[in-house]
């Protein structure tokens, strides 16, 4: 194997394992977020769901990368989760606040 091919293979291996380890850590954080969403009251549940949406979105985006598993449709799901998740959290937080006032 030439030096260039070895360097490219080394970079691919390191990136693959790094993304995999990050996804495992993110999954653990997602489990904590699910626990928070299921145990807490309304606003805490909203926060847990928001954190889980983030973790799921980033993991799906990493899965969609051609350097990893190249699952193309996961990219659209990830973008939807990340964008709609954060916007929805802000909207529902406003609703909780105004709902309690009325």
């Amino acid at each position: 194997m030439s030096e260039a091919a070895f360097l490219s293979a080394l970079a691919d291996t390191v990136f693959f394992w790094a993304a995999l380890v990050f996804m495992v850590a993110a999954t653990a954080a997602g489990l904590g977020a699910i626990r928070m969403a299921l145990k807490g009251e309304a606003v805490t549940s909203l926060m847990g769901v928001s954190a889980f949406t983030t973790v799921a979105g980033v993991s799906l985006y990493l899965i969609s990368l051609p350097e990893l598993f190249n699952v193309g449709f996961a990219r659209d799901t990830a973008i939807a989760l990340l964008v709609v998740g954060s916007v929805g959290t802000i909207l529902f937080a406003r609703l909780f606040r105004t709902g309690e006032k009325s």
Binding site: E3, A4, L7, S8, A9, L10, A11, D12, T13, V14, F15, W17, A18, A19, V21, F22, A25, A26, A28, A29, L31, G32, A33, R35, M36, K39, G40, A42, V43, T44, L46, M47, G48, S50, A51, T54, V55, G57, V58, Y61, L65, E67, R75, A78, I79, L82, V83, S86, V87, T89, I90, A93, R94, F96, R97, E100, K101
Partner: protein
């Protein structure tokens, strides 16, 4: 085999450095200097590999991908710390524990968006950078809106 050994050593080094930062509570090396050091290391490594006879473009791309792997490894210790925090702080700490959990959720959001931005830059994926940056803009508003909602809900409840 050499690639796997390099991966383990590289991951251990990055984990140790990030954990040292977390334990200290501030930056061990100032970020503005750290970026310059990392850029200097990048130039030295690429230059050395180029003068050893490698093609410049493939060398730069490979070294940048290894850097992106470092960014992903650097995101792991904060995620583990956030996981421990989410399981550790239960309801027995009172109603204000919500703000601690909100901070932990903010750590998860911030780490995720920063990993997307910097890893996207280093593997030349502009869509990843764009989504990460868009998400990064929303992180403080999300945390603020949640804390605001909880404050007013809790206040109304205590007035009843």
């Amino acid at each position: 085999m050499i690639a796997e050994i390099f991966t383990v050593v590289y991951a251990a080094a990055v984990f140790a450095y990030v954990s040292w930062n977390i334990k200290k509570g501030s930056f061990v090396v100032d970020p503005s200097k750290l970026v310059l050091y990392l850029f200097a290391a990048f130039l030295i490594i690429v230059g050395a590999l180029y003068f050893m006879g490698n093609e410049l473009e493939s060398t730069v791309l490979a070294v940048m991908k290894i850097g992106a792997a470092g960014i992903l490894f650097a995101g792991v210790p904060p995620m583990i710390a956030a996981t421990i925090g989410l399981f550790r702080f239960g309801d027995e700490y009172g109603s204000n524990i919500f703000y601690v959990r909100n901070h932990i959720a903010g750590v998860i959001d911030t780490v995720s968006s920063l990993v997307m931005i910097f890893a996207g830059i280093l593997i030349l994926r502009i869509d990843l950078v764009a989504v990460g940056f868009f998400f990064f803009l929303f992180v403080p508003f999300t945390g603020g809106a949640l804390a605001n909602a909880y404050y007013y809900v809790n206040q109304r409840r205590s007035e009843k």
